[in-house]
Every structure is written in C-alpha cells, then in structure tokens.
C-alpha cells in the first residue's frame, strides 16, 4: 500500500518557490539589530514547511539543509543569536541555495554539492557561535544533522477539543507533519464517536495516541501543533521519561523552556488559533518607503506540503491552461453573441422586440462574464515587484552605492501574460537606474542631495491602461552627452537639431550606449531598445522624462489585457477593419480645400493648426474603395508611437469589443496588422497596428 507521492511534487515545488520568495521578502525587511519577531516567525515557518515537505517527499539533501537553516532561525527567534548583517546575508544566500536545490530536484539536474556543503557549514558555525555557551553545546548537538543517529520514541497523546475542526484545524495535516519527523504509529480512539445518525460532522470526536520514532525533539513536536494552541490537549513522553504536558487541558501552551513561538503570547488567553489567524486581514498596503510586503508575507502561511493545493484561505490553485481555455470559450461566446445581435437587428414580427431585449440582456451578461474571467487572469504586480528589493540591495552593495527602494501600488492587477513579460524590461530599467542613474554617496552629497538615493517603483490604473513607473532621484539623462555620443556613433547628423524629447528617445535606439566602459551590470548598449521592443510587443509604450541633476522617470503604459480590445470598425470597400479605440483622436469629413498635395506625392490635411499625413487604407491593402476622393469618405485621426496621421476610410461602422485572434499563430505576421477578429456575421476583420502602418507607409514611400 505505497502512496504515490510524485503526483504532489508539482504542488510542493510551486508552493516552495512561492514560500522562498516571501521568505526573501521578509528577510529583506528584517532590521539588523532590532528584528521584528513576527517576521522571524514568518521566515521560520517557511523553512519549517519546506523541511517538512522535502522530508515527506524524500528529498533528504534539502531536508538536511533546511534543518540547519531552521535551527539557526530558531536561535534567532529565541534571541540567542543576534540578527547581524553577516547573518542576514547568510540567510539570503541560503534562500538562493535552497531555490537552486529545489530547481535541481525538480529538473533532475545535479547541483554543486560543495556550495551547499559550504553554506550548510557556515550555518552550523553560526549556530555554534550563539551567545550563551552552556546551552550551546546541547542545542547544537540536537541541531546538527549528525544527531539523527540518536533515535528515540515519543509517545504523544493528542486530544482535540470538540471545536477543533470548526476552528480550521485538520488533525490529518498535523499527523502528516509528524510523519515527516520520523516513523509514526497512530492509534485512533473512536470510543467517543457517536452513531453515524447522531454524528455532527463539525465536531471532533476522535483522539489519538501516536508513537513517533526518530530524532525529533520536543520543539519539533510543539511546532507541529503550533496552530492548534487553544484547541487541543497535548502530552508527550519520551520512552521511560516523564510526561511533558505541551498543551494543557484548556489547550494553553505549557512552556518548559524558552517560549516556542510568537503564537504563545499571553499564557492566560487561548492564544492564536488557525482560525483567528486566517481571519486576520492582510496588512494594509505599504504606501511609502516599505519594500514589497503584505501579500507575499501573508502567503507564507500555506502549511507544509498542503498537498491538495487548496489553501485555508478560500483560494484555489487553477492551472493557466484551464483559464485560457475558459477565456477562449468566452471569446467564442462574444462572437456568437455579436452574431445574434446582428441577426436580431434585422428581425421583424411580434416577438422581435422581446427578442432584442433578451439580446441586450445577453450582451450585458456577456460583458460581465468576460470581465469576471479576465479578472481571474489578473495578478497583482507585486509578483514582479517582489524580486526588486533583493536585486537593489545586492547591486547597490556591489557598486558601493546607498540606495533605498520605494514600492507603491504593488496591488495593482494586470493580466498574467503581461505580467510575465514585463519582468525583464523592468529589471533592465531598475538596473540602469542603479548603475547610471543614482550617483555615489559623495557625489550626491556634493550636489546637495541626500546621500541615500531613492528608486521608486509604482504601478497604477490610468484609464483603460496600467501605468508602471520606474523613477530615481539620480543624475538624470545628460542631454549633451547623449547628443555627442549619438553624433559620434553616426546616429544623428552633425547639423541636426533635436528636441529634448527626440534626444531622450535616442536612448532607445539599438546600439546606443553612453557608458564609457561596459560593466556586467549594464552599458553594453543592448537593452533599452530591447526594453522598448518588449513593451511594444505587449501593446504598450514607454516614455522617459528627465531633469538634469534631479533624476529620471521611465513611464510604461500597458494594456490591461491582451485578449480583448475595444475597437472601432471601419469600412473600406467590402472589407471591415478594426482600429483600436484608444488610439483614435477623432473622425472627420474633410473639405476638399483642407487637403494639400505634397511635392513627394503624399497628401496632408490641416488638423488643429498642423498638417497631418493621410494613409489611404485601400491603397495599402489593395482593396477597391467606394470613395476615391478624400472629401467623399471619412478620415480617422489616429495616434501611433507619438505620431498622428489620418486614415482614409469609406465609413465608420460601430464600436465593439473584439476578441483578438493571433494572425501569427494562425497564419503569419503581416506588417500593419496586429491580429484578426471574427465579426458577428462570421466574416474576418483585421485589427490595425498603427505604428506598423506608419512603417509600411514610409517604406512604400521610400521605395
């Protein structure tokens, strides 16, 4: 009757990686000298649950390593070891190693054993070096993995109170954790179990005696029942030894040594329980000067290898494919609904009105459904932001700069796909800010600025978009130097005069770099162009605002989702095209007098005091139009990549949300077209990519 554990591996890895991320976040918040006990508890619990999980699954190397880590954390928790910079560095390194070890096991690849052994040795040394020498020997002996040789058997008596289940406790989980500590022999006492017909399933009628053989110490056993304080009676007895009461008849912790955990606060009150703890609202959003915090740290509470993937917090883990499938089906529904609406419009007869009002209802419901499904795909941007505190800390240390990272708006949600792809560009921007933006402390002081530089990460909703901003209070972009470099590299002619915006834009040109020498941090001149390309691929844009000596701001604007776009459908001949609504400024009918012909053959029209070029869609796509003269049709004024121009079309049809179907996956890439959609009548309409249109037109004109 062997239990196949491999099916739980994926969940274990996923949860462990998440837990490590929160552990890292918590470590970065840890104040040297005056650490917050709750933070240390959080960190401790992560190590503990990874240890438990890896032992359950037989990843003995990880279990052994986390055991050392956990022991050190326990010493920190008991304030027998002080939190110092070397210790927090050591812990951060342990997070890295643990992550690599997990990856190695997950991917079945070897890991550098020496690195693990070295770090584990450092951990052991740190444990040994703790303050009071007397207790040190004994504790270290139980702590060292070598002590695993001393096997002993605990007889544990576990008597949950009636409300045990109702408080959110599951004895099965605790027994599973005990099983991770050694081999267990469990006997259930069912004598108090009432007949099935009278049984209240919410009330716990069972109690257990457990023989636990292994090297576990009292603290480890207490730890398992940490969450059940106040909800059960617990005694433990080492063979032949005295009975140790861990939780008394009222469920209160009976401490025989140092207080075990933050949960055991007021001995008189039935302290924290799982239920009350889970009900605690997450910490309010850290508005200023705090590093990424609340959501991550809170998530740590997911217990050990909570095998099912269903947490206590009422959330469930769903694979992305399932959501994508759902999204796709909703997309199809939207198309069907559009088709029905179109049919309904032409309908006549006694039921037509009722049919149409039903359709209206359907449309409203569809929109709601669509929004709900889209919300499922949304994740807070803290998933991306959370990697930065560590990165800033490490890089600043390496470059000898003093930098504080400010994170705001980390609860802003955006589509998972967008979220995944925005990480790298952001890393690049932050890295640039650290390397080029923020000056060294002495230079800052000389300039009359605070020695501590600040990098600010911010995210917020702006219209139908998300704006993500990376700003720093460093030196700002050096206009003259950029221009000089660009001239030297032949990117700008020596006689050209450029506006500030154009100069700032130069940093996004491929191959451009002002760094005098290349470091491993940045300065190779590949980067900003890639950043801009990545952001454009997401349908977003990036702009930079800078002030010499005061700092720079990189503002990234991203669409909420990539799956659906609000579009204006326009007719050209027999074809329909979709213009993204966000880029439309206005639509107008031109008078023949306002159109002028340029010497090169292009046409321009006067629009609010300036002249804009016209792109004739029918010429571009080879369609026979209904209107050949500009004043016969309509011109849609649009903006793409900061440039405005007019699209000449026959007619405006209507505004609708369209589901984007990728042309690239279904057909191939077409310049000037970002995708396609299926209209209500079943025909296909192309969605226009305005920056692409500009490129195509200028290439055609140049040819």
């Amino acid at each position: 009757m062997t239990l196949d554990l491999t099916q739980f591996h994926a969940a274990f890895f996923e949860e462990s990686f998440e837990a490590l991320d929160s552990m890292e976040a918590a470590l970065l918040q840890l104040d040297v000298g005056a650490p917050e006990p709750e933070l240390i508890n959080t960190i401790f619990r992560v190590a503990h649950s990874i240890k438990g999980g890896s032992a359950t699954f037989g990843f003995s190397d990880i279990a052994s390593f986390t055991h050392s880590l956990e022991t050190l954390l326990d010493e920190l928790r008991g304030q027998r070891v002080a939190v110092t910079v070397p210790i927090s560095d050591l812990l951060l390194k342990s997070v890295d190693v643990l992550r690599d070890m997990l990856r190695a096991v997950q991917g079945k690849i070897p890991i550098e054993a020496q690195r693990v052994a070295d770090l584990q040795f450092d951990l052991e040394v740190a444990i040994m070096r703790k303050g009071d020498g007397a207790a040190a020997g004994a504790a270290a002996a139980t702590a060292a993995p070598a002590a695993a040789a001393t096997r002993r058997t605990w007889h544990i008596c576990f008597r949950p109170f009636a409300q045990f289940f109702a408080r959110g406790n599951d004895p099965l989980r605790m027994l599973r954790e005990l099983a991770a500590l050694g081999s267990i022999e469990v006997t259930a006492d069912v004598s108090a179990l009432p007949p099935c017909t009278q049984l209240d399933p919410q009330v716990c009628h069972l109690s257990w005696t457990i023989d636990l053989a292994g090297s576990a110490d009292e603290a480890a056993i207490r730890e398992v029942f940490d969450w059940a304080i106040g909800d059960c009676e617990l005694t433990a007895q080492l063979d032949g030894g005295a009975v140790i009461q861990l939780l008394n008849a009222r469920g209160e912790p009976v401490t025989s040594g140092p207080v075990m955990s933050g949960a055991a606060t007021g001995p008189g009150t039935p302290a924290l329980t799982v239920a009350s703890d889970a009900a605690r609202p997450p910490a309010p959003a850290a508005s200023t000067a705090a590093t990424v915090q609340a959501p991550a740290v809170h998530a740590v509470k997911t217990d050990a290898p909570s095998v099912s993937g269903i947490g206590d917090t009422g959330s469930i883990r769903v694979s992305v494919e399932k959501i994508d499938e759902l999204m796709n089906t909703v997309g199809e529904l939207v198309i069907t609904q559009a088709m029905l609406s179109q049919l309904g419009r032409g309908l006549e007869g006694p039921f037509a009105d009722r049919f149409r009002s039903g359709l209206d209802q359907l449309e409203r419901n569809m929109r709601e459904l669509q929004e709900s499904v889209m919300r499922v795909r949304m994740l807070p941007i803290s998933f991306v932001f959370s990697r930065f505190p560590r990165m800033v800390r490490d890089l600043a240390q390496r470059l000898g700069k003093q930098i504080e990272l400010k994170v705001t708006g980390e609860h802003t949600e955006l589509d998972k796909t967008v979220l995944e792809k925005i990480g790298d560009p952001l890393v690049h921007l932050v890295r640039n800010s650290i390397d080029h933006g923020i000056e060294k402390s002495d230079a800052r002081s000389a300039a009359g600025k605070p020695a501590l530089g600040t990098i600010h990460l911010d995210a917020c909703h702006r219209g139908g978009n998300i704006a993500v901003e990376v700003s720093d209070d460093g030196g700002g972009l050096d206009r003259d130097r950029i221009l000089a470099k660009a001239r030297a590299q032949g990117l700008v002619g020596s006689a050209d005069t450029l506006s500030d915006a154009q100069i700032n834009d130069l940093i996004f040109v491929p191959g451009f770099s002002t760094a005098d020498r290349t470091t491993d941090v940045s300065g190779r001149g590949v980067g900003m162009d890639v950043v801009r390309r990545n952001i454009k691929e997401l349908g977003g844009k990036i702009e930079v605002r800078t002030e010499r000596g005061r700092g720079s701001r990189f503002i990234i604007t991203l669409p909420l989702t990539l799956a659906i776009v609000d579009g204006q459908s326009v007719a050209v001949g027999s074809e329909t095209y979709i213009v993204p609504l966000v880029s439309i400024i206005e639509s107008l009918q031109l008078k023949s007098a306002s159109v002028s012909r340029m010497s090169g053959g292009g046409e321009v029209f006067a629009f609010r005091g300036s002249y804009l070029p016209v792109i004739r869609l029918h010429e571009l796509f080879g369609v026979e139009p209904r209107a050949h003269e500009l004043h016969q049709g309509l011109v849609v004024v649009v903006e793409g990549e900061g440039r405005r121009f007019g699209l000449f079309v026959d007619d405006l049809l209507g505004q609708q949300q369209v589901v984007i179907k990728s042309l690239e996956t279904n057909y191939g890439q077409v310049d000037g077209v970002s995708g396609a959609t299926i209209l209500g009548d079943g025909s296909v309409a192309l969605i226009l990519d305005l920056p692409g249109l500009i490129r195509v037109t200028s290439m055609r004109d140049a040819a």
């Binding site: 599951d170 469990v186 006997t187 259930a188 099935c196 257990w208």
Partner: protein, 119 residues
C-alpha cells in the same frame, strides 16, 4: 452477533435516483465542507440490509472530519453485522486511513477490492 431489524422498511427509495442504494459514490472531496451532505447519503445507506459498496475511486481530498464520518458509518454497519465494500480506494483515502490510525477499523469492517492504479 446482535441482529436488529432496521426500523425503517427498505422500500423507501424516494431519494435514491439510481434505484440502487447499495452503491454510493464518494465525492472527490470528503471534507468538513462536504460532510453534512455526505452524512445524509450515508445514514440512508446505513439501514440497507444488502451489502453496501462505497465507490472511493474519485476521492481526491479527505480530512479528519470526513474520515471521522466514514469511520462512524463503517463501524455502525459492522456493529449491525452488515457489510461494506470500499471499492478502489484512492491513494488519498488510504493515506488518511493510515495517518489517522483508522486502518484497522476500516480493514476489520470492510474488505476492500483492489485499488485503482494511477489515482
């Protein structure tokens, strides 16, 4: 063995759509959250004088509350000399039996058929 005739006649089959109260498919979640509903089905099956089969192949998640309920059912049936078959117990169910020390109670009252592979 005490053998008590069930107080309610077997003929009351209103709530068993499959017309086979001797067979009960356990839900994928046998937990505190679903225990109330499950208890209803179990108490109904409790009085069936014919052997009862619990189809446990789709049980994915169990907790102690769910196991407590199943244990009470199995014990009560055995006390009345009535048998229960647990068919294809899933690995989740077997793990819970073992960890909660209920293996004996279940094996003594029940003769499980071989469990499904790969669940």
């Amino acid at each position: 063995m005490r053998k008590r005739s069930p107080s309610a006649p077997v003929a009351r089959t209103r709530r068993a759509p499959a017309a086979d109260r001797g067979r009960l498919r356990l839900p994928s979640q046998c937990t505190l959250a679903t225990a109330d509903g499950l208890r209803g089905h179990l108490t109904e099956a409790l009085r069936n004088v014919k052997p009862v089969t619990l189809d446990a192949r789709s049980v994915e998640r169990v907790d102690a509350a769910g196991m407590q309920l199943l244990a009470a059912f199995v014990r009560d049936r055995a006390a009345h000399g009535l048998s229960v078959h647990i068919e294809q117990p899933s690995s989740a169910l077997l793990e819970a039996q073992r960890l909660l020390g209920l293996e004996r109670l279940f094996t003594e009252a029940v003769r499980p058929t071989p469990r499904a592979e790969g669940r």
